[in-house]
Symmetry: C2
Subunit: 346 residues, 2 copies
DNA sequence: CTGTTAGCGCCTTCAA
DNA sequence: TTGAAGGCGCTAACAG
């Protein structure tokens, strides 16, 4: 029968059953100090018999470490972040850490609440994908965190903290370069706010790549301030309904890509014959899409790895006080079927 | 500068700064006992000044409760489970609980390790989506858990524990009934092992619905033991290459649906004109599929809600020892474009 | 090698 | 209404 009927035994009961002192039990179970083989076995048997599991709170209180990491995600519905969560949980677990997962849903109040909680829990370290807006007033609090912090995917201007990000300018550049090489000249971009560094950098890189090909990005073909699928959908419809339709469109993230695809489907345009589509961020299940989506992929496994190992280094006291470490990883172009040469002029 | 430079103040330093005793600080900050308004404000100011956050481990050690829930998921890459995670985190957080997320990746050893850890953490309650295989030897351990446990989505034969599941027979039935009404007579099913209750119940319901329409499910058209997308893909190819191709196929879960769709695309069959496709479990981003996928949806929000509220009830000591509570929720058919009447005979 | 002991930070009697 | 003191379970320092 499950339920609070049973109570967890303490180290003293294990000690009593094994006929030794509590200190010996502690040492035997933790491989610390010297304990004779005979006793260690008696202790382990006793512990197993009683179903003993050490009380993590008591241990933390004494030792000052919880072996818990806080993972604070801006928006868990974003498949890219989700992938990161998956990898991070896996890596943390392999390193002997548990993960408290928190989702901010892009609301800074939620992030703040969660952060306070993680502080109370005295997690040994925090991985933070910060919310997009209204973080300005809070970088002070972040800077004063007593435990190591690693920013993931998004940097925070004015906060000197470790970070793992990708080269977003490069992401935009790769997309632009690919389209240019295919011969596109009238291309569009669907993006969020230029206020957000990530979107801005992707735009910059995109524009730069076009310029390299002698093309100036038409300001009319930049759909800014699309913050969700719906906004992207409407903006793309507008782009497609122009007299001179673009021959290719870049969506700068996951959510926007969905809106983009929906709009293209609504207008019954064939991909890639009538229109090339390219996106930053892969979609889950893009495998079932025909044609496959050409994307600039973010190396989620590598990001997770860099974030965790950087954090554990700090926790372990390695990488001492020599300022913030900024790891920047390279995105990669995956060409699939959604991009092709532009339709020949009618 | 982030990092372990700063140390978190204790309740004693708050007390000193406020010029009161630690007991008063505790009472003031927790609304317990009587504290004069003047003191409470002095205390709160002091706490804020110092950036004090109570040490959760110390509190747990003393109080016996951690306000942490363990969420142990068989496979976080399954979009349906993911949806549950999302809802559960949200609801737990709203109720003042944190969530330690663990992913077993369908490996019972990982599940076991995680469970031991959650035990050590003395989480107040556990939500468990158990791995599919090799759980038999472990129901003893689960039954003896000192904290409340709620099984989610999957029951465990022989374990008397609270559970929240859906009516899987009904799920199969809804799919079968829909196809029958459309006039299909030669239908196929792609499923996992009949050993697994969920798959078996869905098959049973499906068969029953067909029988109601006077159709006997052809044993040749049951693709059993498909445990992943790849297996489903190959099985469906085989089904489609038969002399007498089925006019409709049901995939009994998320992963299998992907394999099914891939196979259909490979054979260049038009959905729903040449073949109707129906699935249990919605796909994320099914919104961008054209035609939309007709699915039997699991009410993930309701499942999460029932699971959390059931668990919190147990934690709160409500629902006392009156045996296991089994909540069974109803799936729902969402008709979209992937199903239609069968092609008329050539 | 093993045992004894102090104390981590907090909350909850109990006394003033 | 406020303060003093004990102890939750564990580990680390020290004694034997």
């Amino acid at each position: 029968m499950a339920g609070p009927g049973t109570v967890m035994p303490t180290i003293r009961e294990v000690a009593r059953l094994a006929g030794v002192s509590v200190a010996t039990v502690s040492k035997a179970l933790n491989d610390s100090g010297k304990v004779s083989e005979a006793l260690r076995e008696r202790v382990e048997t006793a512990a197993r018999t009683l179903g003993y599991a050490p009380h993590a709170s008591a241990r933390s209180l004494r030792s000052g470490a919880t072996r818990i990491l806080g993972l604070l995600v801006a928006d868990i519905t974003n498949p890219f972040f989700l992938k990161l969560v998956e990898h991070i949980e896996q890596l943390a677990s392999a390193a002997g850490y548990s993960v408290i997962l928190c989702n901010s849903g892009e609301e800074s109040e939620r992030e703040e609440r969660h952060l306070r909680m993680l502080l109370s829990q005295r997690v040994d370290g925090i991985l933070l994908i910060p919310v997009r807006d209204r973080w300005r007033g809070r970088i002070g609090a972040l800077a004063r965190l007593p435990q190591p912090l690693v920013l993931v995917d998004r940097m925070l201007e004015g906060l000197e903290a470790d970070s793992v990000t990708i080269d977003n300018r490069m992401a935009g550049y790769l997309a632009g370069e690919h389209l240019i090489r295919l011969g596109h000249r009238r291309v569009a971009i669907v993006m969020g706010s230029p206020e957000h560094p990530i979107a801005r950098h992707r735009l910059d890189g995109f524009r730069e790549a076009l310029a390299t090909g002698g093309i100036a990005l038409d300001e009319q073909l930049i759909a800014r301030n699309c913050f969700n699928e719906e906004a992207a959908y409407r903006s793309v419809l507008a782009l497609l309904d122009r007299a001179e339709r673009p021959t290719a469109i870049l969506a700068t993230n996951n959510h926007l890509t969905l809106g983009l695809l929906r709009a293209v489907t609504d207008r019954a345009l064939a991909i890639p014959d009538a229109l090339s589509v390219i996106a930053v961020d892969d979609l889950p299940f893009s495998a079932i899409m025909r044609p496959g989506l050409t994307v600039v992929m973010q190396p989620s496994a590598a990001i997770a790895e860099a974030a965790i190992s950087g954090l554990l280094d700090r926790i372990g006291g390695r990488n001492p006080e020599d300022g913030a470490r900024a790891v920047v990883l390279e995105p990669r172009l995956a060409v699939r079927g959604s991009t092709a040469a532009p339709p020949s002029r009618a």
